[in-house]
């Protein structure tokens, strides 16, 4: 049964079983996306993912199928994450230092002759995660949607609720920052 058929059942017949199947199908990608956005905070990512699906259930009738269901879910998930960050910032107002992430990549240069490819890959992954921390919310979201979720710029613009040109700008700026933070990895 396709997503569209399950959505129709969930909307018209209020069939929770149909929606449960949609949750099972998409939970992995939504939770993985939120884990990226929350910089690996699995607990927070799962809380936001749950909020995402509850909101999806409430607003399923307004889903016009003008995008893939997964893209629509990414949009809700990203909005949940941004709303959570706004609330957190309000709570931490005045404590500016707590919001600044340590974006500096490791000064060590892995991948020396004795280092295996696997170890090099793991080290790059760690540095990449740390470097993602120095991006702004919009830049991080743009990178996650365009690279990790493999969306086109148009789809990413739909998810982020901004023009395509803005997405491209965010991606470009993010890559400039990543390039600087990961300069040690340049060949």
């Amino acid at each position: 049964m396709t997503d569209a058929e399950l959505i129709a059942r969930a909307v018209v017949g209020s069939e929770r079983h149909a929606f449960a199947e949609l949750v099972r199908r998409h939970q992995s990608s939504v939770r993985a996306c939120l884990r990226r956005l929350t910089a690996g905070d699995h607990g927070l990512a799962d809380d936001l993912a749950q909020e995402t699906f509850v909101l999806a259930w409430k607003h399923l009738g307004s889903f016009r199928q003008d995008a893939r269901f997964s893209t629509w879910l990414y949009r809700i998930a990203t909005n949940c994450w941004l709303a959570h960050n706004r609330k957190r910032k309000e709570a931490l107002l005045g404590d500016a230092d707590s919001e600044v992430a340590d974006g500096e990549a490791s000064d060590e240069i892995p991948g020396s002759g004795a280092t295996s490819d696997h170890a090099r890959g793991s080290a790059l992954k760690l540095d990449m995660e740390r470097a993602m921390g120095c991006l702004s919310e919009a830049e991080r979201a743009a990178i996650v949607q365009c690279y990790h979720n493999d969306l086109s710029h148009e789809e990413a613009a739909y998810v982020l609720g901004c023009p395509v040109g803005t997405v491209k700008t965010h991606v470009h700026r993010a890559k400039q920052k990543l390039k600087a933070a990961l300069a040690a990895w340049a060949d």
Binding site: E15, A32, M128
Partner: protein, 120 residues
Amino acid sequence: MNTDPARTDAPDDWLERALAADAIEHRAVHVDDAGFAARVMGALPAPAPLTRWQRPIRWTLAGVAGAAIAAAVPGFAADVAREVFRAIAAQPVSLASVAIVLAAVGAATLGAAAFVLDRD
């Protein structure tokens, strides 16, 4: 978009490769459900119950609809009942067959009730 061949020609080729490799690894990871879907379903808002004024209206409408159908086809219900009775009366009736019919009706009722409760 990670597979765009034009990207590999860019001077920051190494960054594209790193991002692409990270993205491929990200998509390969499957997050185990581990009860997540059940938690989501438990967190969904309960279906809105019928309000006090909706219930009598629903019963009244059902009654009106039934009466309208009966009035629209006079004699139809009586004809159906007569034919059903005639068909049953023509069958040889034994205690065992009555018991089987009762058991079948009971099982069907229980099955229907379980299905409806499960759906709600």
